[in-house]
């Protein structure tokens, strides 16, 4: 088997490559150059800096595998960054990392992998795949704290059969131990937290620079539509936010809605944040079988899955058994049956 390993320069993908190479497979390492500033400068923070590529290159050399940096700046800019900005401007809460998985890593790169004469695409995600009863299952990673199955929920069966997640079966401490054992310089590197294209880590600053319209001050209204204050721009506001609104009303108020068309922020009491039902778009099924009615739904990367009833069809929606708080449009919702991911969608 010839495996293409997507190496970010972090410890997880380093170990993914090491494990495959150690098993005797023919391994090729690649780093995707995703983003550059207006003058061609590489990001200085996040997960695709020049020094990350240097780390990945060094790991590949240590493992004795060929290594390349691929230029994905166009795909990333159109498929991820433009969409991220469009979502923000329209008051949604996007997840660019999921979008990057969908449009860049598991779509373009899976295609290109075949041109590189590779059979499988390997990443350092904490998730597992398993071929059982004639279909591929996407399962939660063994390390529940690091589990990344949520961000992979939009994969398809045909993608699943071409991908491998070698670190999904081990925990993070074991990953670091293996990296140290192989003498990889990434063994004790800290995890990247930032959105890679934002650089300094302040995504609001980035949005302001790219889409100045989100900085327009506008009204804050209460549940009856009465103006109770002003905001400095919808970019500063997220659903469920309580602090920093500068609204003086007796009991705590939360942002319950953002209406970009009128540049209005709506606030309300905590119970108004609760939602029993959400509608969805872009419903996908990774399990290869029709989605069941009863599922466990997870709508945050590191949240808990909660029991819910799923209705597919024309206008797909999910009804939670118990009301859920601070769900924002644009977020991904993943459906589980135990450890298995069944599918996913984007909350409307």
């Amino acid at each position: 088997m010839r495996a293409l390993v997507a190496m970010s320069g972090g410890v997880d993908s380093s170990v993914a490559a090491a494990l495959l190479a150690h098993e005797g497979h023919d391994v090729v390492g690649v780093t995707l150059k995703l983003w550059q500033g207006p003058n061609g400068e590489a990001p200085t923070a996040g997960c695709c800096t020049v020094s990350d590529a240097e780390d990945a290159r060094r790991v590949a050399a240590k493992l004795g595998i060929p290594y390349y940096v691929l230029d994905y700046t166009d795909d990333f800019s159109h498929g991820v960054v433009d969409r991220f900005l469009a979502d923000y401007v329209s008051g949604r809460t996007p997840n660019p990392c999921i979008e990057c998985n969908r449009t860049v890593k598991f779509d373009r790169l899976v295609d290109q992998m075949q041109d590189f004469e590779c059979d499988v695409l390997v990443t350092g995600h904490y998730a597992r795949t398993e071929l059982r009863d004639g279909r591929w299952r996407l399962l939660r990673g063994v390390d529940r704290d690091k589990d990344q199955s949520y961000v992979l929920s939009m994969l398809t069966q045909s993608q699943l059969e071409k991908v491998r997640f070698p670190v999904g079966g081990i925990d993070k401490a074991e990953t670091r131990r293996i990296a140290a054992e192989f003498g990889l310089r990434t063994a004790f590197k800290s995890d990247s937290q930032d959105i890679c294209f934002v650089g300094s880590g302040d995504y609001r600053e980035f949005i302001r620079s790219q889409a100045p319209e989100v900085e327009q001050p506008g009204p804050i209204v209460d549940e009856r539509g009465e103006i109770v204050g002003r905001h400095r721009g919808i970019v500063d506001v997220t659903i469920g936010q309580r602090r920093g609104l500068n609204v003086a009303i007796g009991e705590p108020r939360y942002v319950t809605d953002i209406v970009p068309a009128s540049n209005t922020v709506v606030i309300g009491r905590r119970h108004e944040l609760a939602r029993s039902e959400v509608s969805m778009r872009d419903l996908t099924t990774v399990s290869g079988v029709p989605l069941p009615g009863r599922i466990m739904a997870q709508y945050r990367a590191h949240g808990e899955a909660v029991p819910a009833t799923l209705t597919a069809g024309e206008s797909p929606h999910v009804r939670f058994d118990h009301p859920q708080f601070a769900i924002a449009p644009g977020q991904t919702i993943a459906f589980y049956d135990g450890d298995e991911v069944l599918g996913g969608a984007i909350i409307d």
């Binding site: 090729v28 780093t31 150059k33 550059q36 061609g40 590489a42 020049v50 590529a53 290159r57 060929p66 390349y68 940096v69 691929l70 230029d71 290109q112 041109d115 590189f116 004469e117």
Partner: protein, 374 residues
């Protein structure tokens, strides 16, 4: 592994390594000093300088040894622009090496006047176009003799004439780094004031080069310190590197007729065999003999390089960013090529170790690599 990326760098000739070794052992001296050990190093250095001058047809004092091609280009452009306390204008070709373009960009950031000469379709710099951009304020014009990426050969004597007609005081610099291996360089015949060379493009060591500086031409130094190289480049001399550089210059000079015949035969064999799938980007009459720059329509060079690497053929896409990703080349963009087409270009460059049959072998590998994609 079949190595056809000699425009990136070349293997060192064994005689060069032989010439260098004494300076790593018994002849270790610092060339600036007043004892026997130092004098021996100084003599070796000056001997090398005389030999380099003989190769280029200039005086020994017109040779400044540097730490390689990038430094030579920087010293030429910045040094000439900032000479005599001035802030002279700079004119550069659009397809120059980054060492020249970025040096000009540096000057621009400090309020220097920089103008870029557009190139014609095949990357050729039209002398008249250069002349029109030169005025009284112009301090230096820089156009490379042979383009590192495409192999396009420029009319340097024509450019010198056009520049001197517009402003006799303006210096003309040429980066002859890719040119030297395949063309005799005579600075008088070219008429240039400044000329860059680096050792590793013709069988010499990396990290050592030279800048020819015409007598009477002042340069503001980039490296300040002990005042070596007549104050033009401070720093303890790399006598070992210089010995290797000059040995390689002489060997390349002596071997040039054989070299040109051999690489031309291999390049032609390669081009003929790949002609069904690839197009030349520079017509033969404008290209250097050792470069072969082609476009393989419909196939990204990124993909092709991975497949060629797997099959043991080392070639290049010639344009990579800091992280190592292949990017759309500024050279091809300046030539008017669309980004998608620029991403389909490959550079195959032949060198002194190229053997009969290498061209045919490389073509076979390329055809095989492309076959699975079509």
């Amino acid at each position: 592994m079949l190595y056809l990326d000699h425009a990136a760098t070349t293997p060192m000739r064994p005689q060069v390594w032989d010439a260098m070794q004494p300076f790593a052992s018994e002849r270790f001296g610092n060339s600036s000093g007043s004892h026997e050990v130092s004098r021996r190093a100084k003599n070796a250095l000056e001997d090398a300088r005389e030999r380099a001058a003989a190769v280029l047809g200039c005086r020994p004092t017109e040779i400044v040894f540097t730490g390689g091609g990038t430094e030579s280009d920087n010293l030429a452009v910045k040094g000439a622009a900032l000479a005599d306390g001035g802030r002279g204008g700079v004119v550069v070709g659009a397809t120059e090496h980054e060492a020249v373009l970025e040096a000009a960009g540096f000057l621009e950031r400090f309020d220097g006047a920089v103008q870029t000469v557009d190139v014609e379709t095949h990357g050729l710099v039209e002398p008249a176009r250069v002349g029109r951009l030169v005025d009284e304020a112009t301090a230096v014009v820089s156009v490379m003799t042979v383009n590192n990426e495409t192999g396009a050969v420029q009319d340097i004597t024509g450019i010198v004439e056009a520049v001197k007609r517009a402003n006799p005081g303006a210096a003309v610099h040429t980066d002859a780094i890719q040119a030297f291996v395949g063309r005799r360089i005579d600075v008088e015949a070219l008429g240039v004031d400044l000329l860059s060379l680096t050792g590793h493009k013709f069988g010499g060591p990396k990290g050592v080069g030279l800048l020819y500086v015409r007598e009477g031409r002042n340069l503001e130094p980039l490296l300040h310190g002990g005042g070596q190289e007549l104050g033009r480049r401070s720093g303890t001399h790399d006598v070992m590197g210089v010995a290797g550089l000059v040995e390689a210059m002489e060997l390349a000079d002596d071997d040039r007729t054989r070299f040109c015949a051999d690489v031309e035969a291999e390049r032609n064999a390669f081009e003929k065999a790949v002609s069904p799938i690839a197009d030349r980007t520079i017509p033969e009459e404008h290209a250097s003999v050792q470069h072969c720059h082609i476009r393989v329509p419909g196939i990204r060079n990124e993909t092709l390089l991975v497949r060629l690497d797997r099959r043991g053929l080392a070639v290049s896409a010639a344009s990579a960013c800091q992280s190592g990703a292949n990017t759309v080349s500024h050279v091809l963009t300046a030539m008017g090529m669309a980004p998608d087409q620029a991403r389909e270009c490959l550079r195959i460059s032949f060198g002194w170790t190229t053997r009969p049959g290498d061209g045919a072998q490389a073509a076979k590998i390329l055809l095989d690599a492309v076959a699975g994609l079509r």
